[in-house]
Subunit: 305 residues, 2 copies
C-alpha cells in the first residue's frame, strides 16, 4: 500500500491522520473547518491548506469520509445501498482528483413503510462517515458481525452480518436533547452550564424511559420535578439525558443479540455503555481509531500492495 492521508470531514469538524504503508498513524491534525464553514468551490484550497504538505510525497493517496461527500460537500458521492461492506464501498469511491484523492460513499438502506402507499412503501435511511467507522471498528475487533452504535447528534444503530452492514437506523437523539435543553420550556428550569454528570439521575431517566411512556410526556416531568423541588436542579440535565437516550433504547430486544460495539467520543459513549448495562447488555467501546482503520482498509482494497 501507498502512504494514506485519512480524512474525516464532517459538518462541524475536519480531522486527518497521516498513515504509513503499514497502516500505522504517524501524525494527527484537526481543524474547525467542518463543511458548513466551507463555501462552494473552496474545498480544494481548504484541503491544500490543511493537508497539502502531507500529499507532497508521490506515493500518497487520500481518502475522505463524512459529509464532505454530501450535496453541500466537495463532491456528491452516491450512496452505496445495503448490504454493503468494504468491497462495495471501495468500488464506489468518488474521485475528486483521480488516482490521488477520493471520497468514500455513504450508505443507504430502506425500512418497512406503509404497504401500498405511494412514496411510503419504504422509508430510506442514510449515513455518511459512519460506514467507515463501523467497518473499521469491526476490523479492529476482529468481528464479522455485531450491532454497532454510533451515539451523536444523529445516532446510528447498524446491524452487521458477514462483514457487511445489513441495515441501520438513525435517531435524532443528540439533536433533540440539545433542542429540549436550549430551546424548550425546560431551558428555564435546567441550569445553564453542563455541570457535573449525575450518574444516578441519568440511570433513573433511562429506567423511566424504558418503561415505555412517550418522551413527549416524560420530558415534561423534568419541569414538574423541578417545580415541586423533587430533584435538585443540578441533577436535571443528566436525568433528561437519561430520558432521551432511554427513549432511543426503548423497544429494542436484546435476546440473542450479537456483540454490541459503541463507536464515538468518550463521555457520550460512556453514557450509552451505562444505559446498555442497565439492560444487562455488555458493550465494547472504540473511538476515532475506528475511522482511521476503516479508511485504511478501504484504501487497501483499491491499492492492495
Amino acid at each position: 500500500m501507498k502512504q494514506l492521508v485519512a480524512v474525516d470531514w464532517g459538518s462541524s469538524s475536519l480531522r486527518g491522520a497521516r498513515m504509513d504503508a503499514g497502516g500505522k498513524v504517524q501524525e494527527h491534525r484537526s481543524f474547525d473547518r467542518g463543511i458548513l464553514t466551507v463555501a462552494p468551490g473552496e474545498f480544494p484550497s481548504v484541503f491544500e491548506a490543511c493537508f497539502g504538505d502531507w500529499m507532497n510525497s508521490g506515493d500518497t493517496i487520500c481518502l475522505m469520509s463524512g459529509m464532505v461527500g454530501s450535496k453541500q460537500g466537495w463532491l456528491e458521492a452516491p450512496y452505496c445501498s445495503c448490504p454493503a461492506g468494504f468491497e462495495e464501498v471501495a468500488a464506489k469511491l468518488a474521485w475528486v482528483d483521480p488516482g490521488r484523492v477520493a471520497i468514500v460513499p455513504g450508505l443507504s438502506c430502506e425500512h418497512d413503510g406503509l404497504p401500498g402507499v405511494a412514496g411510503l412503501q419504504c422509508i430510506p435511511d442514510v449515513m455518511r462517515g459512519e460506514e467507515t467507522q463501523i467497518l473499521g471498528a469491526l476490523q479492529l475487533l476482529g468481528l464479522h458481525q455485531g450491532l454497532v452504535v454510533l451515539p451523536g447528534t444523529h445516532s446510528k444503530w447498524a446491524r452487521v452480518q458477514a462483514g457487511r452492514v445489513q441495515s441501520f437506523s438513525t435517531f435524532m437523539t443528540g439533536e433533540l436533547f440539545a433542542l429540549l435543553r436550549q430551546h424548550s420550556i425546560l431551558s428555564r428550569t435546567l441550569p445553564a452550564g453542563d455541570g457535573e454528570f449525575d450518574a444516578g439521575a441519568f440511570d433513573q431517566g433511562v429506567t423511566l424511559a424504558l418503561r415505555g411512556d412517550s418522551l413527549l410526556h416524560t420530558a415534561f416531568g423534568v419541569r414538574t420535578l423541578s417545580l415541586f423541588d423533587r430533584l435538585p436542579a443540578a441533577a436535571l440535565p443528566s436525568y433528561l439525558s437519561g430520558l432521551v437516550i432511554g427513549e432511543e433504547l426503548r423497544g429494542r430486544t436484546w435476546q440473542g443479540a450479537a456483540d454490541v460495539v459503541i463507536v464515538g467520543a468518550g463521555a457520550l459513549s460512556l453514557r450509552y455503555q451505562r444505559a446498555l448495562a442497565l439492560q444487562n447488555v455488555p458493550a465494547q467501546r472504540l473511538g476515532s481509531e475506528a475511522t482511521w482503520a476503516g479508511l485504511w482498509a478501504i484504501a487497501n482494497k483499491n491499492f492492495p500492495d
Copy 2:
C-alpha cells in the same frame, strides 16, 4: 348570581367575556397581553385597562384562569390536587381583590414513578387553565365522565369520573413539533410557510407513529423522504405533524374508553379528531365556550344566587 367577567389569561394571550347573571356571554375581548408581556406589578393596571369598564357595575365579580395564577403571574394560586371538580376548585380561589377578583387554582396530580427512589417515587403533573376548560366542557355536554383532550403547546389528557378530574398527563407535542419544524435539521427540508394541510400525508404520519417506532427515528424519515424525493416538500409538514400527534396517541388503549372530548381551537382540534378517527375513536369537539362555561360554573359555586 352576579354579573361575571370571565378571564382566560395565559402565557401568550389574554381573553375576556362579560357574562350576565344567567351565564350568557354578552361581549368578548382579546388582547396580546399574555403574562409573558406583563412586568411584575403591572397586572392590576393591565387588568384595569382591559376590563376596568366591565367591572364598574357594583354587582360584578371577576374570575381568571390560566398562567395568571403561576409564579410568573399576578398571584401564585396553589394547585388543587386531584381528584378535583367544581367544588374543590371553587373552594381554593386565590383572591387578588377579595370578594371582587379571584384566580382559579390549577390542578396537580401524581404519576407512578420509580418505587423506592428518593424524589422519584411519584412524578407530578400540573395544569393551569385547562381545569376550567375540562369542567366547563363536560358541563356543556352534560357529561360526568369522559376523557378530555386539550391539544396545544403542552397537550393535556384528563380522565374525569363522577364530575372530578381523576388524573391527567401532559405531552410537549406542540412545542416539540415547533422545535423540529423551526430549529432542527428538518427545518432545512421543510418549506418555510405553513402551506395547505395535506390530510393524506398527516394520516400516513399518524399511522406510522402508531406502529410504535420512536419519534427520534421516524422524524429523521422526514429528511430522507425528501432527500430521495419520495414525498413532495409541501406534504412534509403535515406528515411530521402526523408523526408527532401519532406519538402522543401511541400506547393508549381505547377499549371501554369513556366519551372522548377535544377542547381547543379549530384547526388543531380537527387534526386530533382525525387522528382519533384513524383508531375508530369518535370524539366531540368544543372551543372557547368551554372556558366561559367553566368560569361561570365556578363562580356560581361561590355566589349561588
